[in-house]
């Protein structure tokens, strides 16, 4: 059974997904960071595939992308690093990446490799739903990859229903009108949006991301969803870390305490 499906069968509340950029801060940090995230008690690992032009990301993730690329990260290197990840990592692993590097690698190659190393799902923010259905759905299914779409406060109810129908794994709720890392604190307006979507009784679990940064925001958004995704705030924590393992443990345990 797909690890994402399994997770959400067992755990419906306070699911924590941690995003980091592959090859950051150092090229060889990818696997050790994943192991540390699992050891610290998070539920999902979201690996960012670095890209030169990440248009949905704020300065923190832009920087981590640039540094990872300068370090020499690429899909080829990444798959090599992840070759044996399933020996030490057992929680679900999801890739988040922009379409262009994946298309250059070849979508079928990419999906096949994902399955081979044990990746469970994909979040491709600039892959529109229609293009997914027309071109790629067959491949995702063939290689048993769960596909996560984003929704935002602007997404209409009709579209949310369509997205729910064509997603599996989970739905990624962008917390506000924003790129990653932009805001802190959860406003009443956001709560209204979270409640509106929660009341829709969707078939997929929902994780809320963008602007979630600590125990308080994690607990708050978890009241209206199955959990949350933390990215920029985690990247900031590991950027200058002298002891990744310890710092990751302290950070994650503080968030889920």
């Amino acid at each position: 059974m797909n690890r994402i499906d399994q997770l959400f069968q067992q755990k419906k509340e306070r699911v924590l997904s941690i995003y980091f950029t592959a090859g950051f801060p150092k090229l060889e940090d990818t696997l050790p960071i994943m192991e540390a995230i699992e050891a610290a008690g998070a539920d999902i690992i979201e690996i960012g595939i670095p890209y030169s032009d990440p248009i949905a990301d704020g300065p923190t993730i832009q920087d981590s992308n640039m540094i990872a690329l300068e370090n020499g990260m690429s899909l080829k290197v990444l798959f090599e690093q992840l070759k044996e990840m399933r020996k030490t990592v057992s929680i679900p692993v999801v890739f988040m990446g922009y379409l262009n590097p994946i298309i250059q690698y070849g979508m079928e190659n990419f999906c096949a490799k994902c399955k081979e190393v044990g990746v469970d799902g994909l979040i491709l923010p600039d892959l529109p739903m229609q293009q997914f259905l027309d071109e790629f759905k067959g491949l995702f299914d063939k290689y048993e990859l769960r596909n996560t779409f984003l929704i935002s406060p602007q997404t209409s109810e009709k579209r949310i229903r369509e997205i729910d129908q064509h997603s599996n794994g989970f739905i990624y709720m962008v917390s506000s009108h924003s790129i990653t890392g932009a805001k802190t604190g959860i406003s009443d307006e956001q709560v209204t949006y979270f409640e509106r979507v929660a009341a829709m009784d969707l078939k997929n679990p929902r994780l809320i991301g963008f602007g979630i940064s600590d125990a308080e925001s994690f607990s708050k958004v978890s009241q209206y969803s199955n959990g949350a995704i933390i990215g920029s705030s985690f990247i900031k924590k590991i950027k200058d870390s002298k002891n990744l393992k310890e710092d990751i443990k302290t950070y994650i345990q503080e968030v889920i305490r």
């Binding site: 030169s52 032009d53 262009n100 690698y105 602007q154 790129i179």
Partner: protein, 392 residues
């Protein structure tokens, strides 16, 4: 037939590869722009402003001395005489009227050379709209006069400090800011790039260029079709405008001129059709300069307006099916062509435009061929670059 299809593709290129956060904005545009643009009210306002404010029609000038020099009948389509000094304002007039009709309160835009930024700041002043322009920090340095023009016009100029700090990064930043302000803000893209419906919408607003060329040529030559149309391509809006009504007239040769920078194989170039491969940039599938891993390569051109790693999807299609000829002109040749036009015709062209002029030395034509060069802009903004270049 060169036409955009229902999904926003020109052949293999185009589409709308955008994050879901922008989906409502793009849908709103896609669903409304054709019907709004088709109304008599819109057309009336658009045409009146083009005439009385922009100064259209722009002259189609028979360049006597240039014609003698090259041995052909060379016409210059004088977009440099548009208000603000380039073709860019044709598009911003169209989009600002549209934005108003969509009830938007704020405008954002990217700019490279600053021409589109100035044209956007101008129409925002005209309509009393709040205006923020994103511009690469390198471009802010090399196009100083345009930065100050935008500020005088009341726009806020925000430096894009990521990546190559040029047009590509200014576009990224504008898209991010649109994600952050999706409800009250319209993004005026400055070329035939971006997600559908932008490329076709911008091309339509610019198509006034070839619409005028047709009747002007009929008047002057007794034939609305020239033999050759030449235009430079950054994203490709002036070229799309100059080609538009000739796309489906096969006997008219279309020549698109890209920037070769320091040379095709120098690693410092912006010649997308030579060096590029198919990929996704700024929301559309097109040809772009990228590494084998799909990372976008930082381009180089002496002209900020051509310093872009991609081209609009319609141009990728024209290239793909062989409908247009593409040539690439190096910095040095462009500068010399700019100075030469100044001396032969008394017109100092924008450095972008100077690339198109040098194409005359690269393409083949017959003695009596009627050639129209789209003189996309004037050189005022480039005086610093001309001065540093010297050689005059």
């Amino acid at each position: 037939m060169i036409r955009v299809d229902e999904k926003g593709f020109y052949g293999k290129f185009g589409g709308a590869y955008i994050p879901e956060m922008l989906h409502p904005n793009i849908e709103e545009l896609r669903e409304n722009y054709e019907s709004i643009v088709a109304t008599e009210e819109f057309q009336k306002e658009f045409k009146l402003l083009l005439k009385d404010y922009v100064g259209r029609p722009t002259p189609l000038y028979f360049a006597t001395r240039l014609s003698e020099k090259f041995g052909a009948k060379i016409y210059l389509k004088r977009e440099d005489l548009c208000h603000t000094g380039a073709h860019k304002i044709n598009n911003t007039i169209g989009q600002i009227i549209l934005a108003k009709k969509l009830g938007k309160k704020r405008i954002i835009a990217e700019t490279g050379a600053g021409q589109h930024g100035v044209a956007t700041a101008t129409v925002c002043a005209l309509m009393g709209m709040d205006c923020t322009i994103y511009m690469g920090s390198i471009d802010i340095q090399r196009q100083r006069p345009n930065v100050e023009r935008m500020r005088i016009l009341g726009a806020k100029v925000v430096p894009a400090t990521s990546g190559s700090q040029t047009l590509k990064d200014a576009t990224n930043e504008a898209m991010r800011q649109w994600i952050n302000n999706p409800v009250d803000t319209h993004y005026i893209i400055g070329s035939v790039v971006g997600p559908h419906p932008y490329p076709e919408m911008v091309a339509r607003f610019q198509s006034v260029i070839s619409e005028e060329m047709k009747w002007q040529l009929l008047e002057k030559e007794g034939n609305e079709n020239p033999d050759i149309v030449v235009a430079c391509v950054g994203g490709g809006s002036n070229a799309a405008g100059a080609f538009y009504h000739y796309y489906n007239v096969p006997q008219v040769r279309l020549v698109a001129v890209e920037a070769a920078g320091l040379g095709i194989s120098s690693g410092k170039s912006a010649a997308t059709t030579v060096l590029g491969t198919s990929g996704i940039l700024h929301g559309s599938k097109t040809l772009l300069m990228q590494t084998a891993d799909g990372q976008v390569i930082e381009p180089h051109s002496i002209s900020a307006g051509l310093d872009y790693p991609g081209i609009g999807p319609v141009h990728a299609h024209l290239f793909d099916i062989g409908r247009a000829e593409f040539v690439a002109v190096e910095d040095e040749d462009a500068m010399n062509a700019g100075i030469a036009l100044s001396r032969t015709e008394g017109i100092i062209p924008a450095i972008e435009t100077a690339h198109a002029l040098h194409a005359l030395s690269m393409i083949e034509f017959k003695k009596d061929d009627v050639i129209v060069i789209n003189l996309s802009g004037r050189g005022d903004k480039d005086l610093d670059t001309y001065i540093k270049w010297g050689g005059y």
